[in-house]
């Protein structure tokens, strides 16, 4: 539950753009926003596309898709279908280490809103939909901003459960359409058929803020910061070992080392770039790698959604990777076989490698299983997990050697990489004095339980995912030794909405009393 952008500091490197004015205001309301940024120009679709293409603006959600192409594609679909369009702002940050979008929505909502309105006007959209994680204060902030701007009717906020894959575009579209917030089985393009089947301009919240900035500054002024290829600024979330975790706005091209320095981070064994679907940078290249998409790719990593997670020296890298892999496995939606069985396999082998019980076999298993799941699911979850794990294997060679040949590197797993499992979920526990290694549980829940060489269960260190609860309960019922139990944490609060509450339909948020004008 560290996902409070309020707990992180805001660092501005160079002249601030998206975060301008936030140095002496916590939140820019409409008046503050106008004082800092001035009014938005009105732009036609062609003007907007020309501007966007002049600076080659890319999506900031991780994939880096060209915004110009997306705008064109939505416009073409709308032309062909003779239909209205929808603008969908993706602020459902599923990434536990990322906080930039939530920060933007809370502290500078009018930039995001302005970008969405610019796109919406150009595309003659029916409405603007903002997807946020449930319970996030971002929902209240953006609704208040819409009320300040007098456009409450055109804006809808949809809450999605706080899960890793909720931020996936297809899952978000499903959630907005009142379906289960899970990635669709077959790849669909929101630009063809998104919200209510209409052509939908779907992009990350920071992208809309950048779009607003571009419109305010004009392409020439926009290019005055950052590198030539990727002008402008980027928002990063620096977490991990940083003693001052922060959301950082920086022009592109600044060496990563400088940012880590400012956030008082120790690089240690490596830096995770781009989030849990991202890649690791070894310390040597992490210091100098320039912050930009191309720079990160050249250094062997990716910018992704701007998560920077240095590992530090006091934690066991392999243990951290195993922890995150377990988290990613339990965050699978359980829809696609290769993912729902493959990721637990990877996580289990990583755990065995990290605790010394797996050795060379486990290393081989990790390598093979990670390679085997890539590209075999409805969404990018298996691919991203595979990328994350394989990159860790190639960067943490020393640590792996220590674990293979000495069982351990001697360092504890400090948990510097946050794993946020959202609302507390039940866990499977065993009474070891009762367990007689019958093996029925491993047969019933192979995703979570595996027998060791002696036939006793090895548990994946994650809560039971929602799609496995029935099987887990059955395993408890059927354990011949009555050794297994499903524990619900005492602090389980039914307050947080679960899957079911979203299934029943759209959740519309009303403004909190007193914020309306």
């Amino acid at each position: 539950m560290m996902k409070t952008p309020l707990a992180a500091e805001l660092v501005q490197i160079g002249a601030p753009r998206l975060t301008a004015g936030l140095d002496n205001k916590f939140r820019l309301d409409l008046a503050d926003h106008l004082a800092v940024h001035g009014p938005f120009p009105r732009l036609t679709l062609n003007q907007l596309i020309r501007m966007v293409e002049k600076v080659d603006l890319r999506g900031r959600g991780g994939a880096g898709f060209a915004v110009g192409r997306k705008l064109k594609s939505v416009a073409e679909s709308a032309n062909t279908d003779q239909s209205r369009t929808v603008v969908l702002v993706n602020a459902a940050e599923g990434e536990p280490a990322s906080a930039k979008d939530t920060m933007l929505l809370i502290r500078a909502p009018h930039l995001v809103l302005g970008g969405a309105v610019l796109a919406g006007r150009a595309l003659r959209s029916r409405e603007i939909v903002v997807g946020v994680t449930s319970g996030s204060p971002a929902a209240r902030s953006i609704l208040a901003a819409a009320a300040e701007a007098g456009m409450k009717r055109q804006l809808r906020v949809v809450e999605v459960p706080e899960r890793y894959i909720s931020g996936e575009g297809g899952a978000l579209v499903n959630a907005v359409n009142g379906k289960q917030p899970l990635p669709p089985g077959r790849k669909t393009w929101a630009s063809n058929s998104g919200v209510d089947g209409l052509p939908t301009f779907l992009s990350n919240a920071e992208t809309f803020a950048q779009l607003a900035m571009l419109a305010l500054l004009g392409p020439d002024e926009f290019r005055s910061a950052g590198t030539k290829d990727e002008p402008g600024t980027v928002l990063l979330t620096v977490a991990g070992s940083a003693r001052k975790p922060a959301v950082v706005e920086t022009p592109t091209g600044v060496p990563l080392g400088a940012i880590l320095d400012i956030c008082e981070a120790t690089i240690g064994d490596g830096v995770l770039m781009g989030g849990y679907h991202g890649m690791w940078l070894p310390p040597a290249s992490a210091v100098s790698a320039p912050v930009s998409r191309n720079g990160m790719v050249a250094a062997g990593a990716m910018l992704g959604a701007g998560v920077v997670a240095p590992l530090g020296e006091v934690t066991c890298p392999l243990g951290e990777v195993a922890r995150v892999a377990s988290y990613l496995a339990s965050e699978s939606a359980g829809q696609c076989g290769p993912c729902k069985l493959g990721l637990p396999g990877i996580a289990r082998a990583l755990k065995a490698l990290a605790d010394g019980s797996g050795g060379m076999d486990a290393l081989e298993t990790v390598r093979r299983s990670a390679a085997a799941v890539s590209g075999r699911g409805a969404c990018g979850h298996p691919d991203g997990t595979s990328r994350f794990v394989l990159s860790a294997l190639s960067v943490f060679t020393d640590d792996i050697a220590a674990h293979v040949f000495h069982s351990s590197c001697g360092r504890p797993v400090a948990g510097v990489l946050p794993v946020d499992t959202g609302p507390e979920r039940p866990r499977l526990e065993v009474d070891w004095t009762r367990c007689k290694g019958h093996g029925l549980c491993a047969q019933l829940v192979p995703e979570l339980i595996h027998p060791d060489r002696n036939g006793y269960p090895v548990f994946l260190d994650t809560p039971v995912p929602f799609w496995l609860e029935r099987e887990a309960l059955q395993a408890v019922e059927m354990c011949p030794a009555l050794a297994l139990r499903l524990t619900r944490p005492a602090s389980a609060s039914p307050a947080k909405p679960t899957m079911a509450s979203v299934r029943s339909g759209r959740i519309m948020l009303e403004l909190p009393a007193g914020t309306e004008r």
Partner: protein, 379 residues
């Protein structure tokens, strides 16, 4: 229909009960049955038990409806003087069966709180209730055919033998596991990996202090911080210039204070040393962030030779403390090595020269904040 049920619901209840007992007993077996078939047996056991209870309820209802018994006779045995002893046995059996089914339903609660022994004792009453119900079925009602008597007799003897076998013959988990499960995760050990591991271990035994020393584990991680070269996968041996893919001499592992750690043999490739990356990041002081930093620019001007000994030009590697060499014979992965690093000395953690980048840190509660941040804090 009512006539049929009156005549046969008791028979069906008894048959289902017998089958349920057999299935339940079979489900506990681990000599012949695999875990998968034991799961099926448990499911069948439960289904049969519910069928038996359903027919039992029908049987009792029918007996009351045709006026052979009163309501109270279905619960309390031996009350009615006009009824025989054997009908009373049936009443006892049905009471016990209800109890047993209840324990079956509440099994999860026993796993969570009470002891398994209590559950076993209660559920094991089945071995008393079932014979009682058979005696009731065979004696209290119509005269059965001889083969029916024989069949039930055989069932009881079979279950008795199975119970004796169950209490005498136990299978240790290891035996069961050896039969039922493949080795680790089903993957065989990669031949090359095994060979590599063998060679590595043999060599490590030859030299007293050979593996497991991470150079940066001994010093502070200053060299990794400052960008001193830590070639991933390179042996930290004074290798000849451009020395890559050298068949490593055994002495390679004995180098006392390598700055770069030791290499991990990639399992597939055995000991082939991977090529160190073209250059190490000599961090340029980041004065102009607006200037396009060419992505490859940092790597290009690195001299090709002697990567292990290379120190960055501006001398901040100097604050790497002297490397301590653990005494011979001590495996250098002792936690103490790491414990020293847990509080890195102030100033060594980050390269200070990079701090020249202009920046400002905004604290969250600026003095002139107009708004209460708590209002936007997460609930």
């Amino acid at each position: 229909m009512q006539r049929f049920l009156t005549l046969y619901s008791g028979v069906f209840a008894l048959v289902a009960l017998t089958a349920a007992v057999a299935a339940g007993l079979a489900a506990t077996d681990r000599v012949i049955m695999s875990p998968a078939s034991r799961i099926v047996a448990q499911a069948v056991h439960r289904a049969l038990a519910f069928v038996a209870v359903a027919f039992l309820a029908t049987h009792i209802l029918m007996e009351i409806m045709v006026g052979k018994s009163r309501l109270i006779d279905s619960v309390v045995p031996f009350l009615s003087s006009g009824h025989t002893f054997y009908i009373g046995l049936g009443t006892i059996a049905s009471d016990l069966i209800v109890l047993i089914v209840a324990t079956g339903i509440a099994r999860r609660r026993f796993a969570e709180r009470a002891s398994p022994a209590a559950w076993r004792a209660l559920h094991g009453i089945a071995y008393l209730a079932w014979p009682l119900s058979i005696v009731h079925g065979l004696v209290a009602g119509r005269q059965p055919s001889p083969y029916v008597n024989w069949s039930y007799g055989t069932c009881m003897i079979a279950v008795g033998i199975a119970l004796v076998v169950r209490s005498v013959a136990t299978v240790r988990p290891r035996q069961a596991a050896a039969r039922a499960w493949p080795d680790y995760d089903g993957s065989e050990l990669h031949a090359a990996a095994r060979a590599a591991a063998q060679v590595f271990l043999e060599r490590s035994q030859q030299s007293p202090r050979s593996v497991g020393v991470r150079a940066d584990s001994l010093g502070v991680g200053a060299d990794s911080q400052t960008g001193a070269p830590t070639p991933p996968g390179g042996f930290a041996v004074p290798t000849p210039p451009g020395g890559v893919a050298v068949p490593t001499p055994p002495g390679a592992f004995v180098s006392p204070a390598p700055p770069g750690g030791f290499a991990v043999p990639t399992p597939a490739a055995g000991f082939a040393v991977s090529t160190p990356p073209g250059g190490f990041a000599v961090p340029t002081p980041a004065g102009g962030f607006a200037s396009p930093a060419p992505p490859r620019g940092f790597a290009d001007h690195t001299p090709p030779e002697g990567f292990a000994a290379q120190t960055p030009a501006d001398g901040f590697a100097a604050h790497a403390p002297p490397v301590e060499v653990p005494p011979a014979g001590v495996r250098a992965h002792a936690p103490a090595q790491w414990a020293r690093n847990q509080t890195p000395a102030e100033g060594t953690a980050v390269p200070r020269h990079l701090a020249s980048v202009p920046y400002q840190v905004q604290s969250l509660n600026p003095a002139h904040a107009d708004e209460d941040p708590a209002r936007w804090a997460a609930e």
